[in-house]
């Protein structure tokens, strides 16, 4: 999550009180990194007021910077996944696709990337080499150049094998203006495909659950999908987000809060594979809170919605695209999920990590 740096930096330093600091938690917990409401509180309450100044724009997936009159998208993302490899992908592939996707949903094509490795002493070279290869392959597929990098090594036991950070710069696609404030009642919510595959894959790959399934991570670059949608419907695309940590529910809640409107989706229209649904039912988790690494959500003006869906479905991997709901006046600032039999529920952001319900 990044705030735009277009606002003027605050001049206050040192002990002088920085206006806007609202973060009061006494220590950092795992929840602050889980992508849900605690993460948002930390970023909005501490990072944004201290680093971005009082007049920063709503938080989005990439910052907009202007250099010599050229607008660029800039983003960075750190990857700390355990295990390092899992069905359908690995940390190296995630690190490339994650940054490409943050740029894509900001309406930008990834142009170049730099990478930082934090390696744990004792890591087999073969493991590192496999991840470098995964990054090379993923960057080739995504059409982004890896232009430089840095390596640090920490003592054995200080990192889970390796952490990877990627920082990417992108050029904006013409005609795309992403701004939650432009969202209007009646706009359609578009989803690119099946949800929950990545999060459930990781949960199962950790091996604690003694559940087996052929589910695979959905990690991929969503840029071809975003590009197709924008070519077909650019003036009607008001907002995009890749629903990673915290899942679709958290992304839609951020939308609802940033635009001040209600987001109403139909549960039956949201595609969830049986393996994901089954694992979630068993563990008391909601697929809407499970992470994805190869999907994106968009708000599209109603007159452009069909064109966007048609264009997406023609792209390989976009066949599952569909409209899952719309934006309404109410419930303002919240996400309402309606089911096929007449019931409905409010779905909030994820709180902390998804913890299974057993007892």
């Amino acid at each position: 999550m990044h705030a735009s740096l277009s606002g003027r930096a605050s001049e206050s330093r040192g002990e002088r009180a920085v206006p806007g600091i609202r973060f009061r938690d006494p220590q950092i917990e795992m929840a602050h990194g889980a992508g849900g409401s605690a993460s948002r509180r930390l970023v909005e309450g501490l990072f944004a007021p201290m680093l971005f100044g009082p007049r920063s724009e709503p938080l989005s997936d990439a910052a907009r910077v202007t250099i010599d009159g050229t607008r660029l998208a800039l983003t960075t993302d750190a990857f700390v996944v355990t295990p390092l490899t899992f069905p359908g992908g690995s940390i190296g592939e995630l690190a490339v696709n994650g940054t490409v996707n943050d740029l894509a949903v900001s309406g930008a094509r990834a142009e170049a990337m730099v990478v930082t490795f934090v390696l744990e002493a004792g890591l087999p070279t073969s493991v590192l080499q496999a991840e470098i290869q995964a990054m090379a392959d993923a960057s080739r597929r995504a059409g982004v150049r890896i232009a430089g990098g840095d390596t640090k090594v920490v003592e054995h036991g200080k990192a889970d094998g390796m952490y990877i950070t990627t920082t990417g710069v992108g050029s904006f696609l013409p005609g795309v203006e992403i701004d939650p404030k432009s969202v209007r009642p009646g706009d359609k919510i578009l989803l690119s495909g099946w949800i929950g595959d990545h999060g459930v894959t990781i949960l199962l790959a950790r091996g604690d659950l003694a559940l087996e399934s052929d589910i695979r991570s959905d990690t991929r670059s969503v840029f071809p999908l975003v590009e197709a949608a924008t070519l077909a419907a650019a003036p009607g695309i008001r907002w995009m987000r890749d629903p990673t940590r915290g899942g679709v529910a958290t992304a839609l809640n951020e939308l609802a809060r940033d635009c001040g409107l209600g987001v109403v989706v139909s549960e039956d229209l949201i595609p969830v594979r049986d393996a994901v649904r089954g694992a979630c039912e068993l563990l008391g988790l909601d697929p809407l809170h499970i992470a994805n690494e190869g999907q994106f959500l968009a708000v599209v003006a109603p007159e452009f919605a069909d064109a966007a869906v048609r264009a997406l479905r023609k792209v390989p991997g976009g066949e599952g695209s569909r409209i899952i709901g719309d934006v309404r006046e109410q419930p303002a600032g919240s996400v309402l999920v309606a089911n096929s039999y007449g019931g409905s529920r409010i779905v909030d952001m994820l709180v902390g990590d998804p913890l299974p319900r057993i007892c």
Binding site: M30, S344, R345, I346, V347, P356, C359
Partner: protein, 376 residues
Amino acid sequence: MKYLDEFRNPQLIAKAVDEICGLADPRRQYRLMEVCGGHTHAIYRFGLKDLLPPNIELIHGPGCPVCVLPMGRIDDGLAIAAQPDVIFAAFGDMMRVPGTHGSPLEHKARGMDVRVIYSPSDAIKLAQSNPGKHVMFFAIGFETTAPSTALTLLRARAEGLHNFSVFCNHVTIIPAIRAILDSPDMRIDGFIGPGHVSTVIGCRPYEWVARNEGKPIVVSGFEPLDLLQSIAMILSQLQKGESKVENQYKRVVPWEGNGAALRWMADVFQLRPYFEWRGLGFISQSALRIRESFAEWDAEQRFHVPGVSVTDPKAAQCGEVLKGVLKPSQCKLFGRECTPDNPVGSLMVSSEGSCAAYYNYELRKNPKESSLCTLA
């Protein structure tokens, strides 16, 4: 998806709602308590309140094991885990429950070795793979999870596993229902009986509720159709002026319960003379302790336990909510000082807790203009 979609079928659900509307007398109010936290969660998760006529009120009962655990027990468990080389192992449900100085997750952030496990046998594995450490399993739950804890203790003894113990907080459901019925401010017309607990204890232990208290009780499954059918069965009894125990969840719950599970529990546990329940106070013979013959694996006997009793924050009205006297939103702290992000009371922690369920699924929803059936 098989075994799920059948129970969420819109046509069948519409039929069940019609049946409920036909059975509900528009001139009277119905107050039905779902005892089990799993039911509370399902009712909100599936939006079932939207389907019911407005004169049927669902009261959330005490059957959420995390919610009824007093803070002192969490503090005691964490005090044991603060000793050197102790690993605190518990289900995910426990991880965010606040103790006086923070939840297990907050203690983990400060360096305590806290592990989320998915079954008690994971705790055994943890002990086997950490021979230099002591693994304490913080056991919670009603009769649903007590048999698996019992089996784990039987296994620990059989394998001579010496670096493992259980901090036992298992409670029993019947005394909780009795406490609710004995509460003077309580007026309930019927009970949706617990589903998972009944797979172990069966339906017979509820007979006194029907016979002596004159309240219908229907043991129910957890899918929308299960719950709606159970509500219809209760209304049908009320209409006929009957009160009996019925089993809606026959596909899972045997009338006589699970004999083997009950025997394991009897081998390993005995009733405590009394136990403190959050919100309900001390209830006699309402909880299980580990028998003398398993003393080596009983954390309470093996370690020094401070045994402090901690009163809940004064403004928190967990007890009233737990007994169904107040709705979650009527508590003074609800949604302000107490949120799922920053829970004061444990009802806000577990997704089975009525406050968390209400906050997550109901709060901010527009009041429905009308429910599906109109009352004459």
